[in-house]
Symmetry: C2
Subunit: 376 residues, 2 copies
């Protein structure tokens, strides 16, 4: 199985209709793969908040409207912030029946309905805790961050370094929401508190954007990237059911399975895209993926292992923090970046030597986790 | 591929939390299939309006919460009123990797948020036409009904007969929302107008309920039912893109493909579950599935071909009209009924001789259509 095409829009605030950005990503992926829509056998759409924020569900039919006269099987996957990774994972199963499958992820967080995005986001969490009792995402991840910092005697500076690294990378990514925004360490240190200990620069932004990927059974171009494995695992939606909040079992299990299937070890990974909805989740991801032992990720950060020229560059596109987080598209943006790097087409942010890349995309508070391994 | 288990709740108004009805259907399907949750390799959840009506998306993680310590791959499919059929269709692809896959569909139309169900339902349609300009579902299907009645010189009595037949069947189905409600032709004839020419008895009700199905690669019991094929096809979300509103191309294409794959002809079908969200869509389904020619379905109705003792019994469970329409569960309720009939476990509504059954589940205004063929 191969990734034979990638396409995307720039992330940020998009005042146009959702149709336009979806269409743009779809045209982009077809151009990139040198295929026409007539070569596509099926599509999976990934979107999280279209209902609450745009008053639009049934987005598979919305895609059909953009392709008049072409009656394809089109599915729609929603698994909160892991929707993109889950749609990619699901699409692999369709390759048993079809030759070419397109995955299109999109989100417009800047909505048109009366529901505020922060309220809509709680729908990814347990309704009672999140919506009724007010444990919204920044509060929940702040709780996790404080537990982690206390448990391993780490201070907030480590999280600042994560944020800074993501912004440094986004500065080199023309598609990123924070491209050439020149965020400095001073700006990060002076950021407003959101939910202690997390400041504004620990939190990913509200983003609009679309990403499309085409997967195929056969390799037809040298630019095609091999899909070595992809595993999705779920855990409880509510954190009250977890024994420990400083690690996400769903990621650990998905990673173990994905690495086993791909016949790789964590040490074999050259580049990594992890789900930094908040800086703390990047730290936890490094440990859950086995890049280092529990409680040791701060050493990787301090040693600059995760920077572009480090031993294991992480979130080379800027991550959710600085590339942006248009939820339904996020997991596919990670795929987009790994493919770009493995093809050696990442320009100023190109990692010198990379043959194996891994994406980790989570939904809710580590409730859904998708780990995918790509290689050349 | 086989259906190795079916489970469901009674449809109707359910004042309890969604968790309870989901759990109930899951226990029911495990009992029916004589399997434990440890035999299940993956789950697909089907739900349409959890976000707008319950403030709860990410329902795959909600299911994970009901299964503590069991970290399965769980996916969530949303394709409006075709969500159940689409989840079933998607699950078949997972059988390439897994032995047993559970599909759980649920909906609680009686919501807990401030959004009225009729407004939430427009999210299955084109936002601009449905939500902004007011072409809500009863109005859209009324338009279609009037066009159909005019085109083929049929009068509303035919639709009344469809409604009556569904109520007669539901009267024999203890799980149906209108079980033993003893609806008479007089009640149907005196029903209030909803959107001319459609009256209250032309419209399916608001329903809460859950249905679960287990599919497996291998047959282990004589009660297992064979899956001969399942095809999903999409069409434009907006009716302004259609040339003709008296037929749904997505159903025609899905049916042609599904029948081809299963090596059957429409004449081979013994029992049929079709998507009667409004009575007019049952009439159109009979033609789109090739049970009769375009414009001739009224003859089948008049001849009583679709009644329990007719040549091609339709909606033997009462259909969406009288069994109920808890949207995410509806497509799976159709599967539940066909399996029950093929197993000869339908009690007072058992069709005497049946070996091949077909389900047709649509989303929006014929925008998504899933046709599945089951057999013994």
């Amino acid at each position: 199985m191969y990734i034979s095409g990638i396409g995307r829009t720039k992330f940020g605030v998009n005042k146009g209709p959702i149709h336009r950005m979806i269409y743009s990503a779809m045209c982009d992926v077809l151009n990139d793969s040198n295929k026409s829509i007539n070569n596509i056998d099926a599509i999976i759409v990934s979107n999280f908040l279209g209902g609450p924020l745009q008053g639009q569900l049934h987005n598979n039919a919305l895609i059909a409207s953009l392709l008049p006269g072409i009656n394809l099987p089109i599915y729609h996957n929603e698994t909160a912030c892991a929707s993109g990774g889950a749609a990619f994972n699901q699409a692999l199963h369709l390759l048993n029946k079809y030759e070419n499958v397109m995955i299109v992820g999109f989100e417009k967080m800047n909505g048109t309905t009366k529901i505020p995005p922060i309220e809509a986001l709680t729908m990814a969490e347990d309704f009672e805790l999140g919506y009724e009792k007010g444990l919204i995402f920044p509060a929940a991840y702040a709780l996790i961050a404080q537990m982690y910092l206390d448990k391993y005697s780490v201070n907030h500076e480590i999280l600042e370094m994560i944020s800074y690294n993501n912004h440094i990378n986004a500065n080199l990514n023309p598609n990123a929401q924070f491209y050439e925004k020149n965020v400095t360490m001073d700006m990060i240190k002076q950021a407003k508190m959101v939910s202690s200990p997390l400041t504004l620069f620990d939190c990913s932004p509200l983003s609009d954007g679309a990403v499309a990927v085409i997967i195929s059974n056969n390799k037809v171009s040298d630019r095609d990237v091999k899909i070595l494995s992809s595993e999705l695992i779920t855990d409880s939606i509510s954190i009250v059911q977890r024994k420990d909040l400083t690690s996400f079992p769903a990621t650990k299990i998905a990673a173990r399975k994905a690495f086993e299937y791909a016949h790789i070890k964590p040490q074999d990974i050259d580049i990594l895209e992890v789900h930094d909805c908040f800086t703390i989740s990047e730290l936890i991801a490094l440990e859950d993926l086995g890049i280092c032992a529990a409680g040791k990720a701060h050493e990787l950060i301090k040693n600059e292992d995760i920077i572009l020229k480090g031993s294991i560059p992480v979130n080379t596109d800027g991550g959710l923090k600085a590339n942006g987080h248009p939820i339904g598209a996020t997991g596919l943006a990670q795929i987009f970046e790994i493919v770009t790097q493995l093809r050696k087409e990442a320009g100023r942010r190109q990692v010198e030597s990379c043959e194996i890349g891994v994406c980790q995309n989570i939904g809710g508070i580590g409730s859904t986790s998708v780990v995918s391994v790509l290689g050349v």
